[in-house]
């Protein structure tokens, strides 16, 4: 039997690898409190804020579904589409505390017919793609 594949993030530093309760990692401006995802670490993007110091913050792991759609056809590279390609949904989820909307694939084969705006969603980790050595992980949303 081949050794189990290493589970590594598809992108470094965007989320925690806590399999049970993963969190997206953003930053927060120490001066004005604005959140950023992906992380902003140099200058605050609020035009009225001169802030340049940020703290790393985990984002809310639950939110309300703002809208959703799906990919019925394989996206082009650099998306690493499986063969055969399995369609998947994409969700835009509104985080109340951060007052922002974050995109993510929808996990577990949940399709658009099982989704509606306002629905409670939660963050999970799931496989984005695999190669011979590794399984690459990404954040996804699923109905809570």
């Amino acid at each position: 039997m081949p050794p189990p594949k290493a589970r590594i993030p598809a992108v470094d530093g965007w989320f925690t690898l806590d399999a049970k309760a993963p969190q997206l990692l953003g930053t927060r401006c120490k001066a004005c409190g604005s959140y950023f995802f992906p992380k902003e670490t140099s200058f605050c993007r609020n035009p009225s804020c001169a802030g340049s110091e940020f703290e790393e913050v985990p984002l809310s792991t639950r939110g309300k579904l703002w809208s959703f759609t799906d990919n019925r056809y394989a996206p082009p590279k650099p998306y690493m589409a499986g063969d055969p390609f399995v369609p998947y949904a994409v969700a835009a989820v509104e985080l109340e505390r951060e007052k922002m909307v974050v995109l993510g694939q929808v996990a577990g084969g949940v399709g658009c017919d099982q989704l509606h705006a306002g629905q409670e969603m939660e963050l999970v980790l799931d496989t984005l793609y695999e190669d011979d050595a590794n399984e690459y992980l990404v954040w996804k949303w699923r109905p809570a």
Partner: protein, 396 residues
Amino acid sequence: MSSKEVAVLGAGMHPWGKWGRNFVEYGVHAARAALADAGLAWTDVQFVAGGDTMRNGYPGYVAAATFAQALGWSGAQVASTYGACATGAQAIDLARARILAGLCDVALVVGADTTPKGFFAPTGGERKADPDWQRFHLLGATNPIYFGLYARRRMEVYGATPRDFAQVKVKNSRHGFSNPNARYKKLYTIEEVMGSPIVSDPLRLLDICATSDGGAAVVLTSMDFARKRATKPVRIAAVSTVTPRYPNTVIEMPNFATDSAVGVAAPDVPFRDSIARGAYEQAGIGPEDVSLAEVYDLSTALELDWYENIGLCKPGDAEKLLRDGVTTLGGRQPVNTSGGLGCFGEAIPAQAISQLCELTWQLRGQAGERQVKNAKVGVAVNQGLFGHGSAVLAKV
């Protein structure tokens, strides 16, 4: 406000299609057509504004010089610009600003593109810090994914239906049917649109615009120069190339997230509403004055969003406007008389220039079977990814 106006003395296009030739050919064809329309020679042009293309190598990044060389080096001054789908509006604005500053009287604006088949993908190479690369790699977020999110949002919030979206395609296919520059000249039925395969739910293949080859050009001049050559030239009264105001709380290509509204409240006027509003304010008119509009129908559903964004109706009323025929030729404020992207497909740097070509022909009364009666004011709007607004307001 007349001191802030420039004239559109000439307009020209190369038909949209999938011709597979060098983009420079389309640009030169369009430029020569625009110059002939203006009654001017290439050597009369003092300034060339070129809309760049990102998919055709180095000549595409220096489009103005590329077109100038192909037309024959004449010593004209040049500037090339890129703003994604808003590229053409930036090029128009460059020429306009130069004329208004008194730095030249005659400017040529050209944009042309040759596009690959299928989904737009990011430009090549592994660029892990580029958000456009990241969105494809981590999400598979194609452009239709964003269009699908907006379309579904309309359904969830306003009760839009896939039939409404199909109706936009049916309308625009009628509008573009007689347009010699349109790529798709076919009269679609609701059933054909709703029978085409789903690409990104709820949007079907016939709801989403294709990618095309094409070229468009306009000759802009000072009003003094134009008055000596035309009795009632079409005038550009405003160009808006606004960026969003922070925080932009609508998810936009190519982003993973919106801005956060925690540090600052969301602006009263959302980005897409601010685009045409910027043009109306410059021109001192309102949406009620508009005779016709060209809007960026990347998807059929997005055309409905634009009705509200440009002030033709209140949020949530776009479907009623469509169903009542207000935006159909013969209605009060026809939208996408050219046939829009649904009949053209997208040739990025040419698109905003082609919108102005349509406004020009309509305002001159030269639009043939698709002519809007008594057209006085036209507005063209568009949006480029990475925060580029585009609105051009023309009148006669």
